[in-house]
Symmetry: C2
Subunit: 334 residues, 2 copies
């Protein structure tokens, strides 16, 4: 056992986080430590073939720059937007990657890199990264929630990534917090991300101002309401702007309901919150924990730490490395 | 492998479902087949010691009546209300079992029966029963939802029961469908069971009538609104009573949101719905599936069958047998 672990610890993998705008690729060891990394534009508008070739070229350059050859690389993991068949490594489609229809990402990258590749959902990889090597390190039952334009999710149960029947699990942003609520672009009503994404915070502020609420936010964006972001709301809130405070409290209420549902539903040890909003620090986490406490059972709540993500923009790449290291059999990797 | 499986298939276990009013105990083989069973009053008001002794006596009588001795019994599984420490087999408390405070159910039953005992949550056991030997047989990712006085839940991922950090997972009835919604007795707002339990259906009908809605339900219960049950609503609904139809539709809407959240959250292959309400048949399942479809992703929805439970009042006992057969190592069973 010790011998096997030692052999494994010598190995190096590449973890990749493929986004609509940028790609992050990291050289990671089997303990989750990043040795070096590179990020570069996705150039998504040039289509899948170009994007995949570009990723392979950058990975090879990263490996070379690290004084290695591809023969030193054990496996490659890549987190991608979906939906996908992560077993086969095929991307079925992706809103932010034009032209990606049933793209054989695993097979294509394996051909270009000469190394076994595992493909998984980007939000799953980010959550896995935090569980394996970040804010939830050491915990077996973890829910990761990323607040951005939408709300992404990843679930780890008993130390393993939850993928679901056809690899679409953990769409936490599209769990409903009100079946009579706001219509989501997914077609459902009252989705979590309609109330508690970074975009939703900004949109709620715009709505309040359009309806006549006076707020310093109007001046902060020099009258151009389209420039309001969650950061604008946070700034105004810390300066006691009543409209911003009301928007922030509404955001906390819905976020707490969404987080609480995961806690009562899955009884995790850690819920990791990621995204720029976590820069709000205790102005986010203190009221959030208090609101979650009210929405959950005392015993279940007592088991669940609610913490900010630690790995930042590297979470997805580290997690993609982690899943191919620890769950290689799922991807049929040798 | 085949040899081991054959050895296992010869074994017999006892599965028990401990309820506040009745206890069900079944002699079950390792394929999930019930050989014989007995049910008897819990006599909960007489306290834990009596209840446990009563269970042991009835189990021994069942075994004897089946022409066996306790030496023929491999293991005993018992589903109980909670919260509990299912690893240690200790019931921390149970609303419907007066006097149950940190009751060492596993140790006590092992002493009385001379056989290894595993203790788990009753709703978990019911879901496991359906996954192992009932409506979801053969599926690896299953959510079980029981609509009764409250709403109970059980989750199976990759073939294993999800217990959570301190064994309180799958409180699906206490996931919120509206953070501004009805106050639940658990202290949270908008809990699933406040809208989509059998009790909630009846309460919504009473509320509507009290607010002045005319309905044949008033005559069906001869003016005593306290006698309205979900069955009354169903009966009136099938006779085109407008109030009953409105109540039923509202129930379906919330149930669909709750089921949809499990589907988008966990991407199961099967969601099993249990409880007396499933006697409504396609008047429940057809509109439910249609409403869930609108609340979920097309791919995720396509993977998820939504079906009525098959095992009826035996589900919990069969599931309690199943978990000790298949997950004995969790309970430290030999």
């Amino acid at each position: 056992m010790a011998k096997k672990a030692k052999a494994k610890s010598k190995k190096l993998v590449i973890g990749i986080d493929l986004g609509g705008t940028n790609v992050m690729a990291a050289l990671v060891d089997t303990s989750g430590k990043v040795k070096s990394y590179v990020h570069f534009p996705t150039e998504a508008q040039q289509g899948p073939e170009h994007v995949i070739k570009n990723i392979a070229d950058n990975v090879k350059a990263l490996v070379k720059k690290s004084g290695l050859t591809m023969k030193d690389i054990w496996r490659v993991g890549i987190g991608s937007p979906g939906p996908m068949d992560s077993k086969k490594g095929i991307i079925i489609g992706a809103v932010n990657l034009p032209g990606w229809k049933r793209v054989t990402l695993k097979a294509d990258l394996e051909k270009l890199l000469g190394v076994g590749v595992g493909v998984d959902n980007d939000a799953n990889c980010a959550a896995y990264g935090e569980q394996w090597a970040g804010a939830a390190k050491g915990a077996s039952n973890v829910v990761g929630i990323t607040l951005g334009t939408g709300v992404g999710g990843g679930i780890i149960i008993d130390g393993r990534l939850v993928r679901g029947a056809n690899y679409n699990a953990a769409e936490i942003g599209h769990t409903s917090l009100n079946p009579d609520g706001r219509l989501c672009k997914c077609g459902a009503k009252g989705c979590f991300e309609q109330y508690a994404s970074a975009s939703a915070i900004a949109e709620s502020a715009r709505e309040a101002i359009r309806k006549g609420a006076s707020s310093m936010m109007t001046e902060l964006v020099k009258g151009d309401l389209s420039k309001i972001t969650s950061k604008t709301v946070f700034e105004a809130m810390t300066q006691n702007d009543k409209t911003a405070i009301a928007v922030w409290n509404e955001f906390i209420k819905y976020l707490a309901a969404g987080v609480g549902n995961q806690i009562n539903g899955l009884n995790p040890e850690v819920v990791v919150i990621a995204g720029g909003v976590i820069n709000a620090g205790e102005k986010l986490f203190t009221p959030l924990r208090e609101a979650v406490r009210k929405q959950t059972f005392a015993l279940t709540f007592s088991a669940a730490k609610i913490v900010p993500a630690k790995l930042g923009e590297l979470a997805g790449a580290i997690g993609a490395a982690g899943v191919v290291i620890n769950e290689g059999e799922f991807y049929n990797l040798k």
